[in-house]
């Protein structure tokens, strides 16, 4: 009967970890150098009030059932050695580069920001003034995304962000915008807040790579007007993502397109929260991730938590999450599709898959549907298992060495997620990197 304790509750709960109290929150806030803010001052004051009332999350919170929030609650991160600089994943691609060092915008290292159809400022610089086009956006989408689930670290971000980018796009931008993060300070606790606004018909591709800080809390608020098209690709490697929580809060207008893809190769503890509201009819929102986790380099824990709200008619959403896990790695997926009353002709799809390469790794999933309209097509699927032995046998019997066969099967497992990247050049760059990484690993 040793297991009755585990089985006893109707819904299993994480035992023994109480919610951090008000003192933990004030310790957390004291460690941050909270900015007053210029045009963001009101949003920051509002965030301070909201955070005080919701508090920091605890391990017993349903929303944190698979990821312990303690490292994000701690006042300071553990120092982290600074890696040698490595060529960026997108170095061969014609792009505009914007550089952040330890969470501070480095104008000297960045490209000229006066590209056509593009208006970019750093938050730190713009926030000295009291007025700005982003005044109605900063913290607004974040605040709207707090229902029905509280997301205290997003509120903390609005309250404490010292820098970020304010990007306004009025037309199509041909070159991708590449935000490159660099780390120099081993103790940097970085809070970054980007606001992206695409005017009607505008188009932008945003790339993010590199290590942000010893600990990072990032926010991307994206507002897409009618017919706008936004592509987002982020890539995190072992040295980049030791401890981070990333947020995307997006509002997708009529006929607009939102696409986000994240690649994570190792790291330590990552939580990505995507909160997307499809607000206009005929809009499309896709969010995808490919994750390769090897617990060999220290505990690997990767949590994707997605909430897509359909609030308009004839919209399409897709969530595609693939996680390859080995050496005790933990992969988490919590995804939800909410179809509001009246959001007829919704087409919602969600797939989460875990590929466990050895014993000891875990894939934990909570794929949810909440539907209040009848003329909809919503489905979700989730599978977890080992490599397909039949496929392996097929490859081996045709003379493919086992290591190479694993690489092939892993790549084919990830293919659906990679297919979410529309741009061939960008997808190929990621594929090449993945293939290299897997092949080196297989040999090692």
């Amino acid at each position: 009967m040793a297991d009755t304790a585990v089985l006893s509750a109707q819904t299993p709960a994480v035992e023994g970890k109480a919610r951090p109290g008000a003192s933990a929150l004030s310790a957390r806030l004291e460690a941050l150098d909270l900015p007053q803010g210029g045009f963001t001052a009101a949003a920051r004051r509002d965030a301070a009030e909201r955070l005080a009332s919701m508090g920091l999350p605890g391990a017993r919170d349903e929303y944190w059932r698979y990821t312990d929030p303690a490292p994000f609650n701690a006042p300071r991160p553990e120092p982290l050695s600074v890696p040698a600089r490595d060529a960026s994943l997108f170095s061969d691609i014609d792009r505009l580069t914007l550089v952040f060092v330890d969470g501070v915008f480095d104008a000297a290292a960045s490209d000229d920001l006066s590209a056509e159809g593009l208006q970019i400022e750093s938050l730190a610089a713009a926030d000295r003034g009291a007025d700005h086009w982003a005044v109605g956006l900063y913290g607004t989408l974040e605040a709207a995304g707090q229902v029905p689930v509280k997301r205290p670290f997003a509120v903390l971000n609005t309250l404490a962000a010292r820098d970020g980018l304010l990007i306004r796009v009025t037309g199509p931008v041909s070159r991708p915008l590449h935000v490159l993060y660099r780390r120099q300070d081993a103790a940097a606790d970085v809070v970054l807040h980007h606001v992206v606004k695409l005017e009607p018909g505008a188009e932008l591709t945003l790339l993010e790579t590199g290590g942000i800080g010893a600990r990072s809390n990032t926010m991307l608020e994206v507002d897409l007007a009618a017919g706008a098209r936004f592509h987002h690709i982020s890539s995190k490697r072992a040295d980049d993502a030791k401890l981070g929580i990333g947020h995307i809060f997006a509002r997708v207008g009529e006929g607009a397109l939102f696409k986000s893809f994240a690649l994570s190769v190792n790291g330590r503890m990552m939580r990505n929260e995507g909160v997307i509201e499809i607000a206009g009819d005929d809009a499309v929102a896709h969010i995808a991730a490919a994750v390769l986790g090897d617990g060999d380099e220290g505990a690997f824990h990767h949590d994707d938590t997605v909430f897509i709200t359909h609030a308009a008619e004839r919209c399409e959403s897709r969530q595609v999450f693939k996680k390859v896990l080995k050496n005790g790695a933990h992969g988490i997926f919590q995804g939800k599709i909410l179809v509001k009353p009246g959001a007829q002709k919704t087409d919602g799809y969600q797939i989460s898959q875990g590929l466990l390469l050895d014993e000891g790794s875990q894939f934990l999933a909570k794929p949810e549907l909440e539907i209040y309209a009848d003329d909809v097509k919503c489905s979700h699927g989730s599978t977890t298992g080992a490599l397909d032995e039949t496929a392996m046998f097929y490859l081996r019997s045709r003379g493919v060495p086992r290591e190479q066969a694993i690489v092939l099967l892993v790549l084919s497992f990830l293919a659906d997620a990679l297919a979410e990247i529309e741009n061939d050049e960008l997808r190929d760059a990621i594929l090449v990197r993945l293939d290299e990484w897997l092949t080196t690993r297989a040999k090692g």
Partner: protein, 508 residues
């Protein structure tokens, strides 16, 4: 349970026609009448004295009273769970009767002949004859129906007490114990002591703990090693009294190599005030044994405005304690204003198997939050979940489930399919699965879909002269087929008609 639809349908040309006819022939909730009968009530409310009184009424030994009191003390420290997607007014636990017994049952009748004819008539009217007679299997000509009648032993529970149990002697010859749990506590204390609370501990959850304190009756089954229970066993629960909660407890033990199929049915009168029902079912399955547990839950669902109805908070769990144990839960949930129910399987023994087949129908203002938990602890364990949720009117229907593969449950397998069907744009269908895989060699697959009744299918039926309501019933029956097929024959018949009745008025 036999089907008593008033007039027998002679020929069955197929399930769907039968359903269609049933829809046409029947009213909405046909079990909504009540029996006027003199009752003894315990005072309203819950406290230690009430717990003592229930124990005393059942002439229980001291250890049982202590067990109840421990549960009651624990319950007072607990809070009602709020995580389900259910919305109902605050329940005043002091504004309920926890014990109601027909006066005629003050001295327990020695045989069915001594039972108050009014009680017997109640069950007769429900289609549950408390006579030791052959019960004709459903409707003649049905697929797979045995040529001769089948025997089904019945334990009839009326409000807080068991009225009687049929075929006890014949079952005893086979070594099978089938009686009310109050009787088992007195007659078979060693079995009850050993197994009661071993699957659903007293402190399990708010409602199970409340049940542990105040359960008044229920059924007890013990099937000895190597025995195939010679007939199907069933319990029929009837709530009759007003403002009275029913708290029954069922304990089923299938010893090594045993087999039993168990059916449960429930109904209640139409009343304006909601009534509480908090049951616990525990099943212990030992090596190579198999238990099939089928439920047709047809408590009064409340009226169209959501007035009245049963609040159904049920904890059901089967423990496949030893190797190759097997359990199959099948449920057809059509009644209750509120359903909170997660029949679960603990797959502890190696190669043990759990199956869960469910149809949950919510119409009008009904709310259902139901599903299952498959907890794989042993190697090579297998589970299968097929859940069909149907929402109509202004109802909310949620599938909530857990599939957990523990690290040592290697080479295990789960397949889950949850489909939801929405009829109308005022209702909701939700899916909340938890999937936790902690070893590599196991395989878990989960699929869920949500859709509406297919326009093409409706058009096809309509073009052939079938009216819209009947056409919807047809499509819905097809949607539910996988689950209906898992039910024992008599239940499948009743379930099919229920599916149609529950949806009546939801179209157009």
């Amino acid at each position: 349970m036999s089907v008593e639809t008033g007039e027998a349908i002679e020929v069955r040309e197929g399930v769907d026609r039968e359903t269609v006819e049933t829809v046409q022939n029947m009213g909405s909730y046909k079990y909504g009448w009540d029996t006027e009968i003199e009752m003894d009530y315990a005072p309203k409310g819950i406290n230690e004295d009430i717990v003592r009184l229930i124990s005393e009424k059942n002439a229980e030994p001291e250890w049982m009273l202590e067990w109840r009191l421990a549960a009651f003390r624990r319950w007072q420290t607990m809070v009602e769970p709020k995580w389900a997607m259910l919305n109902y007014p605050v329940i005043d636990y002091q504004d309920q009767y926890y014990y109601a017994r027909p006066k005629s049952m003050a001295v327990k009748p020695k045989s069915l002949d001594e039972v108050d004819p009014k009680l017997l008539a109640t069950y007769e009217k429900l289609g549950i004859p408390l006579k030791e007679q052959m019960i004709l299997a459903g409707i003649e000509g049905a697929e797979g129906a045995p040529a001769e009648g089948r025997k089904v032993a019945v334990d009839a529970v009326f409000d807080s007490v068991s009225v009687g149990t049929t075929f006890k002697d014949e079952l005893a010859k086979a070594g099978v114990i089938f009686c009310s749990i109050s009787e088992a506590i007195r007659e078979h204390p060693e079995l009850v002591k050993k197994y009661l609370g071993s699957v659903v501990p007293q402190s399990d959850n708010f409602f199970a703990t409340l049940n542990s304190a105040v359960f008044s009756d229920g059924s007890f089954v013990y099937v000895p090693p190597g025995t195939r229970c010679p007939m199907e066993l069933s319990t029929y629960f009837r709530i009759n009294a007003e403002n009275t909660g029913q708290f029954e407890r069922t304990l089923i033990i299938a010893d090594k190599g045993a087999y039993v199929s168990y059916l449960e049915g429930c109904t209640a009168p139409k009343r304006d005030v909601a009534q509480l029902h908090a049951a616990v079912v525990e099943i212990v399955i030992l090596e190579d044994a198999e238990v099939k547990y089928s439920t047709v839950q047809n408590w009064f669902p409340g009226d169209e405005e959501g007035k009245g109805g049963i609040y159904n908070f049920v904890t059901k769990r089967a423990d496949c304690r030893e190797a190759r144990a097997k359990v199959m839960w099948t449920q057809v949930e059509t009644g209750s204003a509120i359903t909170w129910k997660y029949p679960s399987c603990i797959l502890r023994g190696e190669e043990s198997q759990g199956e869960f087949y469910s149809i949950a129908i919510a119409n009008n203002m009904q709310q259902a939050d139901t599903g299952t938990k498959m907890i794989h602890l042993g190697k090579n364990t297998r589970s299968r979940i097929v859940s069909k949720g149907i929402s109509a009117g202004k109802a909310q229907n949620t599938y909530r489930g857990l599939v957990s593969m523990h690290p040592r449950a290697t080479n295990s397998r789960n397949y889950t399919q949850c489909d939801s069907l929405l009829i109308g744009d005022q209702c909701g269908a939700h899916t909340v699965p938890y999937i936790e895989v902690k070893n590599t060699s196991s395989r878990v697959e989960h699929e869920a879909t949500t859709s509406k009744v297919d326009d093409d299918q409706l058009f096809y039926c309509r073009a052939r002269g079938i009216d819209e309501e009947a056409a919807v019933a047809l499509v819905v029956n097809g949607f539910c087929r996988e689950v209906l097929q898992a039910l024992p024959m008599e239940f499948a018949m009743e379930a099919q008609s229920l599916v149609a009745i529950s949806l009546e008025g939801s179209v157009g």
